[in-house]
Amino acid sequence: MPPVPSLTPIAHIGPMTSVPRVMLTVLCALVPALIVYVWYFGWGIVINLLIAVAAALAAEATTLIMRHRELRPALTDGSAIVTAALLAFALPPLLPWWLPALAAGIAIVLGKQLYGGVGANLFNPAMVGYVVVLISFPVEMIQWLPPRGSDLPGADIGFVAHLAYAFTANLPDDQAIDAVTQATPLDLTKLGLANMQTLAEIQTGPLFDRLGGRGWLWTNAWIALGGLYLLYRGIIRWHIPVAVLLGLLIPAFALYLVDASRFPSPAFHLFAGAALLGAFFIATDPVTAATTNRGRLIYGAGIGVLTYAIRTWGGYPEGLAFAVLLMNTSVPIIDRYTQPRIYGHE
């Protein structure tokens, strides 16, 4: 249909941006971190990413057909791909193929489409998918590969080995999965502390670096740079990342001062787990975050504090996903009580 002059008063100006462009920018911001991740932990994340993207799009298309909705707008908005990308960063690198597929499918179907599609969901879809597989498949979900440079077996398994494990559940040369995988630094720390070891004893192992886990430090540094790029491009606002990080680091610093042998340093909390990915890429999902600026500060601080609490006193080594989901439930009430003062109102 050719364009016709409009007769209703609207702003006659091209839009400044679009949802697909926002999503594309988010994906671009993750690319440097992805490259660093591959350097340290191998090709697994790429395989998981491709499987998750395919599964997310397939799940989205299927539910859209079942809901009698148009396919194109939802499939092209890029939000399913972002969900899949966040899952790929959250999941361990060495996994059977069905696990990222399942996580992505659950994220899209349970986390998004059942609420009415993009914009209508209450919970962060990637975190819904992640938490469901974390609880359902705890064994697979704690097997991480050791980073390059740690001199452990499995630190340099190649693309073929990754592919073989993903689709045959076996490693080449009859390597046992337990022989190549390791726990994460957060995991080891939690276990060690539970066994009455001091942090100094725990964190001397080959998986640790001075500030966080080996490999994790640089991956997370590049995630943070990607986040700063999103800030610079105006895709996200500073409120949520700053609040998440302060909510995590302030209690971390306080307790570190109290007893440095039992409570890991703020730097460790910052660089060892998903804090930076969460602060810049997960908690900032606009659909499920608070939408007022004051609300964003409360929401972010809640995620930071809950993450610290779960990491320190909870049953799981990493608490970010749970913290995000918990704070998602409070968003309506936060928004309601943090409405800015309207011009001219008391």
């Binding site: 050719p2 409009s6 008063p9 926002v22 914009g119 659909v287």
Partner: protein
Amino acid sequence: MAELNPVRPFTGGLRLPPNKNLSTTMPITTLARPQRLCIPLAQHAGPPARRAVSIGASVGRGDPIGATGEHGSVAVHASHSGRIVALQRRPILAGNGLFDADCVILETDGVDAPVARTDQHWPDTLAARLAAIAAAGIAGLGGAAFPTHIKLGAHARYRTLILNGAECEPYISCDDMLMRTHPDSIIAGALIMLDLSQATQCLIAIERDKALALEKMQYAAAVRADPRIVIVPLPTIYPAGGERQLVESLLAEEVPRGRHPTDIGVICQNIGTAHALARFVSDGEPLLSRIVTVTGLGLRTPQNVEAPIGAPISALLDHCGGLVDPRSQLIVGGNMMGHPLPNADYPVTKATNCIVALPLAEAVKSEPERPCIRCGDCADACPARLLPQELLRAARSDRSELLTGLGLEDCIECGCCDVVCPSHIALTASFRAAKPGLRQQILHQQLATAAAQRHDRRQARLQRSAAEADARQQALQQALAADSATRRTVIDAAVARARKQRNDPNALT
């Protein structure tokens, strides 16, 4: 002359492509006399002027065509000499958008004798001067055509006069060009307005990107050396020129909800209005023409045109070289808050500050609307500090309490939220559409509350009178029981009453 600089900017707003250079490279030109003029008797939503001519009458340039009648109406004049050939009721596009108005059709004859000068046009008392301003047809030239005399008379003693030369809306440059060419007249108008409004200061707000206009105005103000007049450069952020934003930027205070600047002793006038007023006071010439920015990439030679009120917009387009493509989007006003024009067969009114002709491909980039992702970009851009993303949900679910709480009535319809929305949702249009419904609902609620109150009061009244009757009865019984003499008197009185009633059927008791 002091300079207030920098000012505290208002919240929200956007830096938009100004597109002003299109029309500022050429000097202001004058439209050749059109064959026919269509002069509406009402140029804003208020009461129309009383028609003062009939078909066949000959009028000279500057003769009144519509006289001030009811309170609020502004006179209209023949902008060219000629003969009245028809009276029509037809849609016009003025102050408050499209509406039907009675129009006088004038066939011009080209005589155009200068307006006769009298010495009585500017009387001595305030009331007479305000009446003279109305009779001179002077109305707000910023685009709303609000009657100037009403604003000037709305408050006995204003604190501040704000002269609005911000011109924040893209494309429009008529105020810029006027400030470049007639700064002295604008300052003279400001002094007259200061005098009429009793304001103690006059802040002239001009966006910083109008460097030449700023310079000329500063020079003109310096020549006058009146300490009450201050030129204030504003940041170039749309909508810096909105009345409420001006009050916030210049005075660091806010106009309370549902009120106007006049309610807090602030009067906002457009610089074009000041110029028109100065011209009237010095020469006695009523408002016969205005400067119209005729611009846009759909036009061959965009420029500012001095056009008589009532000139057909098609004549202005022809004057500017015509449309590149006949199928263009025509807008009266700027591209943000302007109103689309169905065709070029509309007259120039006092409110017509700008005509934009946009190539269709540029004007209606109809990208598909997507669901809101609650990114909040709209809230950051909103100068009223609303949450458009939440308002949209409330508007779509038609929840009046929520709409009131979220400030639907406080939306100034500036369109900033539409521009930044990554989902391309027509937010402003939804809010505009929801406003009448909300007002209706509020009215119904008020009526219902009033009815409930009436019912409660009546109920209370009935209860009270019943209780009083009970009390009287009780007192009477007690009195009767007390002694027989009283009983006798009471019975006699009752018997007499009954007898009287029987004898006189008209008696009420």
